[in-house]
Symmetry: D2
Subunit: 181 residues, 4 copies
């Protein structure tokens, strides 16, 4: 069972990262800080002559993480009621990656991955975070990834998430399940 967590916050030890850490506590996993990678926005050339062009940035790290994982935790702050821009750029580039001839097995491998979403926001996240969850659901449906569960936590100031008993409990439940996989 290979687990990767993508950290989509721009802060150190953000609330969403802390919550993801609880989910994976005591479990071997890989953690990728999107803020430390250089990921270009997608240049959509699906219908252009020649198709997508090779981009010289760190995106291969992302593709490899997908290829080597059985379970992926997408951890993002809720910025303006959706995922952070750096995580959105990572997702957008999947359109290119699944057509990349260097990774012919990517599309099929995605179908074997379980996805978990951790999102933390300050403005009624359990209600106003719902469109974000629906978008992840449509995305995973499209890719045939299994969206097993999500946690919407509440937090604004650093560390706030440790006061959200419901989110902490969900993280602990999930941690127990992952330990038994």
């Amino acid at each position: 069972m290979n687990i990767t967590t993508f950290i989509g916050s721009s802060r150190e030890e953000s609330n969403s990262e802390q919550l993801a850490d609880l989910v994976t506590r005591g479990i071997k996993h890989r953690k990728i800080y999107l803020k430390n990678l250089s990921i270009q926005p997608i240049h959509d050339l699906r219908h252009a002559e020649g198709g997508f062009q090779l981009v010289s940035d760190d995106y291969d790290t992302i593709i490899k993480a997908f290829l080597e994982s059985d379970l992926i935790v997408f951890s993002t702050p809720i910025y303006w009621y959706s995922m952070s821009g750096i995580m959105k750029n990572m997702i957008d580039r999947l359109s290119q990656a699944i057509r990349d001839e260097r990774f012919p097995q990517l599309k099929e491998h995605l179908q074997s991955i379980e996805a978990i979403v951790i999102a933390v926001g300050g403005d009624e996240p359990r209600i106003k975070g719902l469109p974000l969850i629906q978008q992840f659901q449509y995305t995973f449906d499209f890719l045939n990834m299994r969206f097993s569960t999500y946690i919407l936590g509440e937090g604004n100031q650093p560390g706030d998430i440790l006061q959200d008993q419901q989110a902490l409990y969900q993280a602990n439940l999930l941690n127990k399940r992952l330990k038994h996989l």
Copy 2:
């Protein structure tokens, strides 16, 4: 009546841009291609000592456009059921801009702006684009901008949007209304 259109696609003459052009046809307006600007992802330093740091990129162009506009058209392709990453980065940085001491009047000015959203996608946009519309709504609510209307169009290949009669009609209706403002 000053109108600005933000173009969030990474393509030339994208479907979403074409639809926005119909909305603003024959009307004096400014058009900003996000793909031609350098906009850094937000580095959330709200709670850090010293607060946000000055970022040296093209974001001031965005802030000025907001400050000089009475009506803004947000035109975006639907990438993975939400706005493009480059538009998301633009939105995210508003968190910094509304705290930027150089623009003390920004927050108040936003409250006088009318917002229109144009989004075009290939996978059942009138249903699967709904979470995107809800997120814009929450965002405009937070900023007290007036979200007057939106158009969800269908298109995949370049030019497809010109076959979507419903979207074209909505664009024409909106164009007539804007001409009489």
Copy 3:
């Protein structure tokens, strides 16, 4: 091509009915006023000994309409951001109908039906009517019915819908398509 329209309003010539009439104008179809039928709320006995009990009301009219239709228009006012209670009771009873031994072919027949939703409300229906559309989508997905399109119209006072140019145009477009089926 057999078309049935379910009218879910409690008013005469409601806005939602008027809009549905435009969609089916000049086309042979059947119209069922839910307010004129007696439909009991579902009594969920799925897991009770003996299962569902025969209910003596007008629901067989509904089942027969489903069985005889290729296309169904669900026309409802938006009451409190969802369908009317009388339409909800009609939908709820489907749980019983698809298990009713008297209609063994119902479940399979539903999979061949195209569904259209017409909903009219007074409080920002194109945004606040979205959860209603999502619920219809989940429902049709579950039943494997094809949800081809929907119209969200704006209206409060009787006749208001005739001022909603966008909804009228969508109704006309749809009318043209249905005429060519």
Copy 4:
């Protein structure tokens, strides 16, 4: 602190009722089984001459419960991704009640009520129950009621809810909070 729970299921000891019972365990409260009341669907006469007509059913019980409560728990099974028809009919009639001259203080009193929603379903309730939550939110917003929290539980067979640890935990948390009100 007067608490009322509306039970919207058509079953005895339904999963949604059991979950609501955990929320109110050890706390004085009133429980109203909608299935035991006769509540007519609304007949929308807002714009008709003479307005709404007096309906002779049990709805006054509902109005009085609203008037006497500081906190209301709406407990419903998720039928077809929304609230049960009997609960929908109860909600719809509020349109009449807030205009009922016999209860001039209702509209204002609603603004002082805290609302909690408990909904249990069998088909991915934490995702597919979200439109239901959004509808409650729009409804409470319209009425200026405070929507403090909700629980989406998973259950199909009677008693299933007792296996949903996350829902049970949320119920316990909420129970503790209510005990200290």
